[in-house]
């Protein structure tokens, strides 16, 4: 393997056999560590209500945080969405509209509830589906619309609600990546008929595993509670949240304001360091929406000297575990069940332009400076690096 390409210290790049920049991986996953003492306090019942339990306590706090009447916790966002789709999809209609540029298992969830995914395009500004992109897919067989908040920022909530109302089709929001954000002065969580969130370890609130649904519809909340204990009408499954996962999430909730501050500091460091580096654009969101900055995304512009995927390969070799943003789109992968997809030009264009950068609990501010310095090095030495890549 060639070792002609050296960094300033005279060592070869990791992709060519040298030592990686970091000894341990720098991931994009949040992996927030709670205060262990807080977690143990919750676990041993010190902080529970005398007549309640940990899961109920978590549900009350989350409902309050999202300013909704109801919160129903389940063992994962995946199964929460499955139960929600079954509860709300219009009977005798089969299609559920969702974007192709999204969570890799979302179409599988639609299949599990016996419906057909109908993929819609995204809006280039938000990287999410919108009222306009969904409208093109609506037909007499549309059972439900899923508005999906992207990684950072949020989707066209008003447009999606408006289209749903116009056609009499229920709309729900997959808000896994917009836990903290605000829309029109309200916390995400009370829009559409219901919203879905995750308590997975990589998410803003780390509950080991878990998920929850927020809704102002009391009857829906009641139906979901029955479904999650295997007793509901239609599809139901025992998918209650284990109490120790609730304990973890509660400890995470207590730390949330501080976590947001830490995330913001990481984002600001990226912003500062990337300022002088042409070819990469840091994706920003209005501070009015109170972004959590849990995720940090850059766009690879036309004047960057590498493709998105080449950049990721070079970064990953250094233990900088940047990831391709929702890649590949679901319609670019083999799908083993029925689905519908028309042309998705925005999805196809975006598909190889965005990178999720390392952030979260395991990434320090100094790490970020090193990462951007490495990107700068790649840019300055692109001719020789590219010659060896080829």
């Amino acid at each position: 393997m060639s070792n002609k390409i050296n960094n300033r210290q005279g060592e070869s790049l990791a992709i060519f056999g040298g030592q990686p920049l970091f000894n341990s991986p720098k991931p994009t996953s949040n992996l927030v560590r709670p205060d262990p003492l807080l977690f143990f306090d919750y676990l041993r019942g010190k902080m529970t209500r005398s007549d309640g339990n940990l899961v109920e306590m978590l549900e009350l706090r989350l409902a309050s945080m999202h300013d909704t009447k109801n919160c129903v916790a389940v063992n994962s966002g995946f199964w929460g969405l499955a139960l929600l789709l079954d509860a709300l999809s219009l009977p005798s209609r089969k299609e559920i509209i969702l974007p192709s540029l999204t969570y890799r298992r979302m179409a599988d969830i639609v299949s599990w509830v016996g419906r057909v995914p109908h993929f819609c395009d995204i809006d280039l500004k938000t990287l999410a589906n919108s009222g306009d992109t969904v409208r093109r897919c609506i037909n007499d067989n549309t059972a439900l619309i899923i508005g999906v908040h992207p990684v950072g920022g949020h989707c066209d909530v008003d447009g999606l609600e408006s289209v749903a109302y116009e056609y009499g089709i229920p709309v729900i929001f997959d808000s896994v990546e917009s836990v903290h954000e605000m829309h029109r002065g309200k916390r995400i969580g009370s829009f559409g008929v219901a919203e879905l969130f995750s308590l997975g370890a990589s998410k803003l609130i780390n509950g080991f595993e878990g998920g929850y649904v927020t809704t102002n519809d009391d009857a829906l909340a009641h139906q979901l509670r029955l479904k999650r204990s295997g007793r509901g009408a239609g599809l139901s499954l025992s998918v209650e949240l284990p109490p120790f996962h609730a304990a973890m999430a509660l400890a995470g909730l207590d730390d949330l304001p501080n976590q947001i501050l830490r995330n913001r500091a990481r984002f600001n460091r990226y912003a500062e360091e990337l300022r002088g580096l042409p070819g990469l654009r840091l994706v920003r969101h209005s501070e009015e929406t109170e972004p959590s900055h849990k995720n940090i995304v850059v766009e690879v512009l036309d004047d960057w000297q590498y493709t998105r995927d080449e950049t990721i390969v070079l970064l990953n070799a250094q233990n900088i575990l940047a990831r391709a943003y929702y890649s590949p789109p679901l319609t670019h992968k083999p799908i083993g069940y029925e689905f519908i997809a028309a042309d998705l030009p925005h999805t196809d264009w975006v598909a190889d332009r965005y990178i999720s950068m390392p952030c979260g609990h395991l990434v320090t501010l100094d790490d970020i400076s090193k990462i951007v310095r490495f990107l700068s090095y790649l840019s300055s030495n692109h001719k020789s690096i590219r010659a060896n890549l080829n």
């Binding site: 992996l31 370890a201 025992s238």
Partner: protein, 243 residues
């Protein structure tokens, strides 16, 4: 007072604390973590079976197993079959009959056999029950037998003197644990084990194989911690009663 904790007194055992401090120090919370892998190896050894795939709960385990193995099959389940298996059969829309005495439905079984695949579900009662599957009906080579819910005593045995079927689900809710959440699918078929791992999550995959559809079936490190503690308690108790 529970073995590991007590809400009234605020007690939380040292063992629980140690396990969780290990998790927090490793910062590995889910996705086929070290405790999940340890649990899988422990059960493989105890059950003397090649593959154990730990999953978040028995309902999801059954969904995975049934979705991969069976289509257009008819299930015969004993009356005390687990709620989770019934949920999975219902979710997938498979036809099923619950029986009290299997010999009474032999004519139905024979009729179904002519038209499709028959699945017998065997649970821990069948190992002792003289009316159970082994004594009353000959399992045809085209039939399939799957196991569910081993009794605690079986796991405490030093030797496996019960012939396990080709695959099944063991629910940890049947253990004497305080927080028995979770299940595993076991199988001697390596290829099928790879399918289950690829279906379950992106962690713990030994070989990537195509699957029709995936689930979130991940068992967290927290779940594995409690099940390992429960198993240890059960094995220690068996050892004490045998010595």
């Amino acid at each position: 007072m529970n073995y590991f904790s007590d809400k009234e007194s605020g007690y939380l055992s040292d063992e629980v604390r140690q396990y969780f401090m290990g998790i927090f120090n490793r910062q590995y919370y889910t996705e086929s973590g070290p405790l999940v892998q340890e649990l899988e190896k422990t059960l493989q050894k105890k059950l003397k079976i090649r593959n154990v795939v730990c999953v978040s709960n028995a309902s999801i385990a059954w969904l995975m197993l049934l979705d991969q193995l069976f289509s257009k099959s008819f299930f015969f389940t004993p009356q005390n079959t687990s709620k989770q298996l019934k949920e999975a059969i219902s979710w997938l829309g498979f036809p099923s009959i619950e029986y009290n005495k299997i010999k009474k439905i032999i004519p139905v079984i024979n009729k179904v056999r002519k038209n499709g695949k028959v699945i017998f579900v065997r649970n821990n009662i069948d190992f002792q029950d003289s009316d159970g599957i082994h004594n009353e009906i000959a399992i045809d080579s085209n039939d399939t037998l799957i196991d569910t819910q081993f009794s605690d005593e079986l796991l405490g045995a030093n030797t496996r003197d019960i012939e396990l079927s080709s695959c099944g689900v063991l629910s940890f809710d049947s253990f004497a644990t305080d927080f028995g959440f979770g299940a595993c699918i076991y199988t001697d078929d390596d290829d099928f084990s790879d399918v289950l791992r690829c279906m379950r999550s992106s962690g713990g995959i030994r070989r990537k194989v195509p699957v029709k559809r995936t689930v979130n079936g991940r068992m967290s490190e927290a779940q594995a911690a409690f099940v390992l503690l429960g198993l240890k308690k059960m094995f220690d108790s068996h050892h004490a009663s045998n010595s």
